[in-house]
Amino acid sequence: MKLHELKIHEAHELLKKKEISSSELTQSVLGRIREIEEKVGAYITVDEDFSMAQAIAADKVISEGNIKTLTGIPLGIKDLICTKGMKTTCGSKFLDDFVPPYDATVMAKLYSDGAVVSGKLNMDEFAMGSSTENSAMKLTRNPWDLSRIPGGSSGGSAAAVAADMCLGSLGSDTGGSIRQPASHCGVVGIKPTYGSVSRYGLVAYASSLDQIGPITKDVRDSAILMNAICGFDGKDSTSARREFPDFVSAINNAGDNLKGIRIGLPEEYNNAEGLDPDVAESVKKSMKIMESLGAEFVPVSLPNTKYAVAVYYVIAPCEASSNLARYDGVRYGRRAEDTEGGIIGMYKATRLKGLGEEVKRRIIIGTYALSEGYYDAYYGKAAQVRTLIKQDFNKAFEKCDMILSPVAPTPAFKIGEKTGDPLTMYLSDIFTLSTNLAGIPGISVPCGYSKEGLPIGLQLQAGYFCEEKLLKAAYVFEKAAALEKRKPAIK
C-alpha cells in the first residue's frame, strides 16, 4: 500500500511505531498531488516547502516521544479557513493574493496537535454553490468520474480525500457543503452542532449557518478530527461553552449493534421529488442493515421541510449581503485601477471585477430582501419559518434518537448540467439545508454505489450536541455494511 492511501489512524500507528516518518508520508501525499492534480483539480495552493518544514518538525517531535494522534499527518484545508503565511483565496479572484496575518482557531488547534498542512483546497467562491463550479480558480472534478462535479462548496476537500491527495481535510458547511460533497465522493463528512467548532478565522458567508467540520476516509478518522477541532473559543462569540466528549473513545465503545436506537423516518422525505432510484435503493438497503443491527424505525414528521429551501435562500443571501460588504478594495484583496466616480465608483468597479456571478446574485437577493418595504415579507417571514423548522426537529427528537435520509437526491451530476439554472441547483440541497437552519449536527456516510459506480451517501441527523451518538451509529453501520472496498480509478 502506498503511504498516501493510509487513513489517519493507520498512519498514526505506523508513525508511533516509527515504521514510517512524517517526511515520507508527506512526500508521498505531495507526490500524489503532483501526479493527479491536473486531472482532479482539488488544490488551489500547494506549498511543498511549507508542508515539508512542518513534516520535519513533526518528525523531531515524534523522535522526542511526544506523538499526538495528528502529529505528522498531512491534512488539506478548505481555502476559506485562514492560514497564517499561506494564501487564503476563498475561491475568489478578489482574494487571489490574500495572505492572512493570523491562523483560524481550528488551524491553531491542528498545529498544536502537530498536523501538517498539505495545501488549500478548491471551493465555490465564498462557499456559494453545490458543485464547486463557482470557483474562480479552477474546476474540480469528481475522482470517481472526471466528467462529473465533486459536489460543493467543499468540493476540493472531498475530492482530495477520495483521491488520496491528503489523509483528511476540513470543509465548511452552510447548507450541506460538507455532507453533499462527501456523499458524492464516497467519503465521510460531518457538520457539527453550530457552536461546537470555532468560526474564528473562517471567512464568513452566512454567519448563523456556517460551521467547520471534517471530511475523512472513514468514521474513526472523523472522530479523530472532531476531537482536535471542537471546543470553546473566546474569540468566537457564538462558541458553545461546554465540555466535549472524547469522540474516539465513544466509537471504541460503540459495540457492534444498534440495539435501543430509534431512528426517525420523516414522512415528508418519502415523496421527495426527483429522488434517484439508485439513491432510494441504497438508502433502503442501509435501513435493512440497521434493522438487522437492532435499530428500530419510527415515523416522524417534519412538516415545514417544504419551506427549507426558500428559508435558506432568504437567510443565507441576507447574511451574505452584509458579510461580503467588506470586499471593497480598501483593506485587502484586489482593487480595480484607474476608476472613475470617486470612492463609490472604485467600490463598484472593484466588486464588478472581483466577484463572480453567483456571489453577485446572492448579494443582490439579500440586499433586496433586507430593503425597506420587503424586510418583513422576506427576512422576517423566513426567520419565523426557521423557528417552525427548529420546532419540527425538537418534536421529532422526542420520538427518536436520530433522523435518517439521503444526503442528496441524486449521485454527482455532470459538469455544466445545472449551471444555467440556479434554482434547480438550490433544490438539490433539500435534505441538508434544514440541519443548518436548526443548528443541529449531521453526518454523511457512504452507503452504496449507483449502477454507474458513483458513490451514494446516507445522512443521519441528531439533536444539539449529539455528535457522539451520530459517530457511534455511523461507525457501527460502516463496519456492518462493509461496503466493497473500491477506489476511484482516475483516468
Partner: protein, 95 residues
C-alpha cells in the same frame, strides 16, 4: 415579474455592485424566478411565531474588559491594495 431590470440595477447600486449590461437580462430573470419560489413562504402559517436569527440560542458572550493582543498596524495594512505609513489610501471622498 416581481422584480424589474431597473430594480435590480437600483438594488445592485445599494450593494455597491455593478452588473454587466450583457448579463443583466439573464440575471434579472434568474433573480425573479428565485423570488417567485421564495414566495411559497407566504403559505406558511407564522401567526404569533417568534423569529429565530440563529439555530441555537446563545447567551450574550461577555469577557473581562482587559486589553488583548491585536494584529498590529503593519500586518493590518499588509494586504491592502494601497497604503502608506500604516494608513489605507482611498480615492478622494470629500469634494
Amino acid at each position: 415579474m416581481k422584480i424589474t431590470k431597473e430594480q435590480v440595477v437600483q438594488v445592485a447600486h445599494l450593494a455597491r455592485l455593478e452588473v454587466d449590461e450583457a448579463d443583466m437580462e439573464r440575471i434579472a430573470e434568474q433573480i425573479d424566478k428565485i423570488l417567485e419560489y421564495i414566495d411559497t413562504l407566504a403559505k406558511a402559517d407564522t401567526e404569533g411565531v417568534e423569529p429565530s436569527f440563529q439555530g441555537i440560542d446563545h447567551d450574550t458572550a461577555f469577557r473581562e474588559d482587559v486589553p488583548v493582543g491585536h494584529v498590529g498596524q503593519e500586518n493590518a495594512t499588509a494586504n491592502a491594495p494601497s497604503s502608506e505609513d500604516g494608513y489605507f489610501i482611498v480615492p478622494k471622498v470629500i469634494g
